[in-house]
């Protein structure tokens, strides 16, 4: 096909755990430069989709294609190196490492120096250390916590920890950033800051795919939305279309029974 290659394509992907089908014949695509939201009721299979994209799970069938390359079956760190980074539903920072080191670990995704480089202080090692540190500082400034670089990550307030996870993911230099419920536990003012941050990330050229329950945030920030329920896609489109889709209303509010 002469059509331009999608950034991410999920082709007919099914994920089964024993007898349970968590994701069933899912088709999705994400284009470059979008903010794309994946929504659905609890247990719909959203995080499973993230886990398949990032290599935590290998789909039972189907393919996940990123920039024309099949990524299902790759170990997670290889997927990250291809340009997909993520955050977690429950914050999973390296709690006792410093804020700066958390982000530096992310920058190492693009580094190659190892034991010999560090032992003998080889030029590439020194260059990578310097660049990693500089990039990490930039990212801390980007999320506006540069002054806390030396603190242990667990000592940050909750909202800052969420943003630090985003900075750590961005440090891996992704083309696609997956955010798993980034607004969870945030107050309204933190949510609006988050919305602005997501737009700023997109403006730096990173495509964003997010899972979110907060409809205000989803409707406000997304270019396109896909809705899944029981592992199947039930709607796909811009926020307005999705909001008016009867299947979506049904999934969220329950079946409107005739007997009522």
């Amino acid at each position: 096909m002469s059509m331009p290659e999608r950034l991410l394509r999920i082709d007919d992907v099914t994920m089964q755990f024993g007898g349970l089908t968590a994701v069933n014949a899912l088709n999705l695509h994400v284009d470059e430069g979008e903010i794309f939201a994946l929504i659905g009721p609890n247990g719909a299979g959203k995080t499973t989709v993230f886990n398949m994209i990032t290599g935590v799970y290998t789909p039972t069938s189907g393919d996940i294609v990123f920039l024309g390359t099949r990524v299902n079956g790759l170990r997670p760190h290889k997927v990250t190196r291809q340009g997909i980074a993520r955050t977690f539903q429950n914050i999973r920072l390296f709690d006792n490492m410093t804020v700066l080191d958390n982000v530096v670990v992310g920058t190492h995704a693009g580094h190659r120096s190892s034991v010999a480089g560090a032992l003998f202080g080889l030029p590439r090692f020194r260059r990578e250390e310097r660049q990693g540190r500089e990039r990490a500082m930039e990212l801390l400034e980007f999320i506006e916590i540069a002054d806390r670089g030396g603190d242990a990550a667990r000592n940050l307030p909750y909202g800052d920890q969420r943003r630090l996870e985003i900075a750590r993911a961005l440090a891996t230099d992704p083309k696609l950033l997956l955010l798993d419920e980034p607004a969870a536990g945030m107050n309204p003012s933190e949510k609006s800051d988050l919305m602005a941050l997501i737009r700023r990330i997109r403006d730096t050229g990173v495509t964003v795919l997010l899972i979110e329950h907060d409809m205000g945030l989803v409707m406000g920030v997304s270019d396109r939305i896909a809705v899944i329920d029981f592992g199947q896609k039930i709607a796909d489109g811009d926020p307005l279309e999705v909001r008016q889709n009867p299947d979506v209303i049904k999934a969220y509010l329950g079946e409107v029974s005739d007997a009522s």
């Binding site: 760190h77 990250t80 006792n96 490492m97 190492h108 995704a109 560090a118």
Partner: protein, 375 residues
């Protein structure tokens, strides 16, 4: 906080002082720090020569000898195991295997091929690293208890193999292992059965070299990856850390240090047998790491020193010696689970109740107790 858990994290005032000094130390200019390091090395080198010190430290035995073995060798072993346990957070119960492989490499190459200590050393390091790779490649996919059991098995396999093979001398082991080459006419570099000091200087040389190397690794992609793996292995993998590769590096770097200790040991004893490498040695070195404070080099050295030295001074308790030692270990793990001089980061982990040494301490305590039962 501490009132709710009075048993945990007992305060050691002198350690507080150490930590304060440590913080001040970090703030000193680099040149001043190097002067400090040099002074410490000189102090360490002078330990066997300070008149009267031996009578106080080890009244019943040779101070020089104890300084080299067990203390010096234990420090080297503990530094190696600290990479695996302290940095990467992997529980290895068979570290003695690498010590044995280093020692047997020295013994075989030295006796069969007449090779010199300095020639054997790099070969032995390469062999132990390969052994680390061979052990790690299939097993590092396992976690926690499972890894501990497999490494425990590995330690036993090496010993039992050495007992049963003919080129390792079977149960009688290997004799007449060459000593390191002496420098003609320089008494402090003349290695002989009656002159232990040169061995001690040699072990200090290796300890210093290893510390420099480990410090460099700590502050690099390698050290950060180890720390990330210890904190949250899955998150580390998803942030682009090739976790298996770096866990293998932890094994191989640790193995290389353990192998070096083995080479030194063999060329000191000049005769080794499989029974020199019992499981209890793995447990003892692990106890040194955990007791001192996993992840923190000064703490680990302190731990290894105590674990090497305390049994020597408690010789007067004769057959109760090991019992006393075990009781001290258990008490320490109850009252000071983070170790005597822990790294700040590990202290924090423990407070948080994560991947902590508290758990490790419990496991080590149980293992040591069991090993003592089996004696």
């Amino acid at each position: 906080m501490s009132s709710t858990k009075p048993l945990r994290g007992i305060k050691l005032p002198w350690i507080k002082t150490f930590e304060t000094l440590g913080t001040r130390w970090q703030r000193l200019p680099t040149s001043a720090r190097w002067v400090g390091y040099l002074a410490m090395v000189l102090l360490a080198l002078s330990l066997p020569s300070i008149p009267g010190l031996g009578d106080i430290m080890t009244p019943g035995s040779s101070w020089e000898r104890v300084l080299f073995y067990p203390i010096g060798i234990y420090i080297l072993l503990a530094l190696g195991l600290n990479v695996v346990v302290g940095y990467a957070g992997l529980l290895d119960l068979g570290f003695v295997a690498f010590f044995a492989i280093g020692a047997y490499t020295m013994a075989i190459l030295g006796t069969e091929f007449g090779m010199d200590f300095w020639l054997v050393l790099p070969i032995a390091i390469a062999v132990t690293m390969l052994a680390g790779l061979a052990l790690g490649t299939p097993t590092l996919r396992l976690r926690g208890d499972y890894l501990a059991i497999v490494t425990l098995g590995f330690g036993e396999i090496i010993r039992v193999t050495a007992t049963n093979l003919s080129f390792t001398g079977g149960p009688r082991g290997i004799n007449k292992i060459p000593r390191p080459p002496s420098v003609e006419g320089v008494s402090w570099l003349t290695f002989s059965i009656s002159n232990v000091k040169p061995y001690y200087y040699l072990v200090i040389f290796f300890i210093v070299l290893v510390i420099i190397g480990l410090k460099r690794l700590e502050r690099s992609r390698v050290g950060r990856s180890w720390a990330a793996i210890r904190e949250d292995e899955d998150a580390a993998e998803l942030m682009g850390v090739p976790t298996l590769t770096f866990k293998l590096w932890a094994f191989t770097v640790g193995a290389a240090v353990g192998g070096t200790a083995g080479v030194l040991y063999a060329s000191f004893q000049t005769a080794i047998r499989p029974t020199d490498f019992p499981f209890i040695l793995s447990a003892t070195v692990l106890a040194a790491v955990v007791l001192g404070g996993a992840g923190n080099i000064p703490g680990v050295i302190l731990g290894a020193f105590l674990v090497g030295w305390v049994p020597e001074v408690s010789r007067e308790f004769s057959q109760y010696r090991v019992l006393v030692f075990g009781a001290v270990l258990v008490a320490l793990m109850i009252f000071r689970p983070q170790g005597l001089w822990p790294s700040r980061i590990r202290q924090a982990e423990l407070k948080q109740g994560e991947g902590g040494i508290g758990q490790l301490g419990g496991e080590v305590g149980a293992v040591v107790a069991q090993a003592e039962d089996n004696r």
